[in-house]
């Protein structure tokens, strides 16, 4: 049975790994392939800082909350393993800042040590009068994606550098199940007006004295349109741009100024930091993640697509929960095709 994953960002690769781990043993005939026009380090996931943190205002979406928690717990379990460094996984503490009191987030009990900021801590951040402190995880795309790729390669998964133009072309080739992890450009394969780019731009600087993430929030500007500082294992990411509907992947000088000035105001010592890189990417924004099966009737075939895209600015945060859910959908496909039922005894 040929299964093709389209997309090699964090969603595509983790979904492939999840399906591989759960079903290769049950189904020796399973042949998993990954198709993508961009691989690490050129995917959207590579540009993300990699901080595990859901949106602070996630409209009480319980399903997504559970996927977020599943991801956090899964990663936490890997922290002590020898793989953690290679995965780009480590603990990090930090601050979320607000200009007025806000309700606690739905994920307060998922992260470690969640608490409100004390007045002395708020003195560090003039202009902000309320905030949270917690310990969360970093999962750096530039390490995690190669790690996923290595695990998949070890297990015999094949990779193809190719832009898929349609679902049909894959089915015509003999693919039985398609896993659609195409992120922001999913609309090219099947129109989806709910999917819009959330353009982001970041500046990466050398500032190894910064040990905490600092994320500011502004109800007027909206999520990620307010300065944030996220220290990685080598470089610190400065950001604060989220432009809905903007497809431009070129760096903008104006956005650079916005990021630089607002982050230096937030943390004056950043003025001494050396700018190393600049990057723009498109968050695959959608009101909800699209994670569902679709049966496509083709001639006499019934082809199956599992959609797993639209993770906005929280792809890394939610990826494993979604990969597991996609794997469950795959399992139900196998059941229907009677491929995964247990062997029958001879009577």
């Amino acid at each position: 049975m040929r299964v093709a994953v389209i997309g090699a960002g964090v969603i595509g690769l983790s979904t492939a790994l999840c399906i591989q781990e759960q079903y290769q043993g049950l189904l020796p005939a399973l042949q998993l392939e990954v198709y993508a026009d961009h691989y690490t380090p050129h995917t959207t996931s590579d540009g993300a800082a990699g901080l595990w943190q859901p949106y602070v205002n996630d409209h009480s979406n319980l399903q997504q909350l559970l996927w977020n928690k599943e991801t956090f717990d899964y990663l936490l379990g890997h922290l002590g393993s020898p793989q953690a460094k290679e995965m780009g996984l480590f603990l990090i503490s930090g601050y979320n800042l607000f200009t007025h009191p806000v309700p606690d987030p739905s994920w307060k009990n998922i992260v470690l040590g969640f608490r409100n900021l004390t007045p002395k801590e708020l003195d560090l951040f003039p202009g902000y009068s309320y905030g949270w402190f917690n310990t969360a995880l970093m999962l750096e795309g530039r390490s995690y994606l190669p790690w996923l790729t290595n695990r998949l390669t070890e297990r015999g998964v094949k990779f193809f550098h190719k832009k898929v133009e349609s679902f049909q072309e894959m089915f015509a080739q003999g693919v039985d199940v398609l896993i659609n992890c195409t992120g922001v450009r999913a609309g090219e394969l099947q129109p989806d007006p709910q999917l819009q780019p959330g353009r982001g731009q970041i500046i990466k600087v050398l500032a190894p004295w910064v040990k905490h993430f600092i994320i500011t929030h502004s109800t007027e500007s909206g999520i990620y349109n307010s300065p944030y500082i996220i220290p990685g294992s080598e470089l610190t990411v400065l950001g604060g741009i989220n432009q809905h509907g903007n497809w431009n992947e070129e760096n903008s000088a104006q956005d650079h100024r916005t990021i630089w000035e607002s982050c230096c105001r937030l943390l004056p010592t950043l003025q001494e930091a050396k700018i190393v890189e600049e990057w723009s990417g498109l968050r695959p924004s959608r009101p909800r993640v699209r994670l569902e099966r679709e049966s496509i009737h083709q001639e006499h075939l019934q082809a199956e697509v599992i959609h797993n895209y639209g993770h906005g600015g929280f792809g890394i945060t939610i990826h494993w929960g979604c990969a597991m859910a996609a794997a469950r959908l795959f399992g139900s496909i196998l059941q229907e095709k009677k491929l995964a039922s247990p062997p029958q005894p001879h009577l």
Partner: protein, 341 residues
């Protein structure tokens, strides 16, 4: 009377911060720093520079707290300024974990550091051998940057710094009005202070830039302190051991203990091993002394014996030492007035 001439002996964190406080308090003085060793070869350079007070049995708690608070407040202001990275001062959060629940759940300094609270059960799961813990955010002074920053400020204020060994404080009597003794462990040889004893500490400095939180075992034996470029792993506390040579067996023991607290350290690179001798004493010697020899007087202010807690209280003791220098200067003015009559 001409401006008083003050010599500060010692260029570790105590000597340099004391010189700075004297310059701030008595701008008309001329201050000179004399030391055998400057950064990166002082005891301070070996230390991680974490602001976590150490027990100092001979010093009243209220004084320890006052000195710690003064130091923390001073560094806190710098940490949020544009100079923070040059000065090597940064905030760091982390955990102090205990195998046995400590008697004191809230140490005297718990309201000085930021966000102090007991660790949650979920946080403790990362440390299966430990049953209690404290989470907080504190400051770290990275050396050499902090000492180099102090040196730069001193030079800008007109302070001269000279590399020179002082075998006897009386050598300085002819040129200086007041001598401030910040010689740390060197005071043992200089003064024969028998209360002062070295407590040898060996540390490893490794490259592990993914470590953003500190971890300290509450028994003080094992700690992981992430600095700007390197993580300090420690340590040892060997009384009366004067050896400055790294011991390979100790290196392995420290590394193993730290890895059991933080397994990802197995991937650490570029290990540098260093040794420092903590200038330990029942209490910090922070007092004036008038030495006499053949009718000649030498006014001395002592500021040494900070043991394991130098960084935590340095600014507080430096200010007190500067105040004592002020008393010396006043005494000199008084006696010079009397001499004129």
């Amino acid at each position: 009377m001409a401006a008083a001439k003050v010599a500060v002996v010692g260029a570790g964190v105590i000597g340099l911060s004391t010189a700075q406080c004297i310059v701030e308090a008595w701008p008309s003085c001329s201050v000179t720093v004399l030391a055998e060793q400057f950064s990166p070869n002082t005891t301070s350079d070996v230390a991680a520079g974490m602001l976590i007070p150490h027990p100092c049995p001979g010093t009243p708690i209220h004084l320890q707290k006052q000195w710690f608070k003064e130091t923390f407040t001073y560094l806190f202001a710098i940490s949020s300024s544009a100079e923070a990275s040059e000065a090597g001062i940064h905030l760091v959060s982390g955990w102090q974990v205990f195998k046995k629940t400590p008697k004191e759940e809230f140490p005297f300094w718990s309201d000085v550091v930021l966000g102090f609270r007991p660790m949650s059960k979920a946080e403790l799961q990362k440390f299966p051998q430990h049953r209690f813990g404290q989470a907080f955010t504190t400051l770290k002074c990275d050396c050499p940057p902090y000492l180099l920053w102090l040196q730069k400020r001193l030079k800008a204020a007109g302070v001269q710094l000279y590399s020179r060994a002082v075998a006897d404080l009386w050598e300085l009597q002819s040129k200086y009005d007041v001598v401030v003794n910040c010689t740390g462990i060197g005071a043992q040889q200089l003064l024969g202070d028998e209360e002062l004893c070295p407590v040898r500490g060996q540390v490893l400095k490794v490259h592990a830039p993914w470590l953003k939180n500190f971890i300290r075992d509450g028994d003080g034996s094992t700690y992981i302190y992430p600095g700007i470029h390197r993580v300090t792993l420690g340590g040892t506390r060997e009384k009366e051991n004067w050896s400055l040579s790294p011991d390979p067996g100790t290196t392995k023991a420290i590394f193993d203990r730290c890895c059991s607290l933080e397994p990802s350290l197995q991937g650490a690179q570029d290990m540098e091993v260093r040794v420092g001798l903590r200038p330990s004493r029942q209490s910090v010697r922070l007092q004036r002394e008038v030495l006499s020899q053949g009718g000649v007087k030498l006014l001395v202010v002592h500021n040494y014996g900070h043991g394991a807690g130098g960084f935590s209280i340095h600014r507080g003791t430096a200010k007190e030492a500067a105040r004592l220098v002020g008393e010396c200067i006043a005494a000199l003015k008084g006696s010079s007035l009397r001499a004129k009559l």
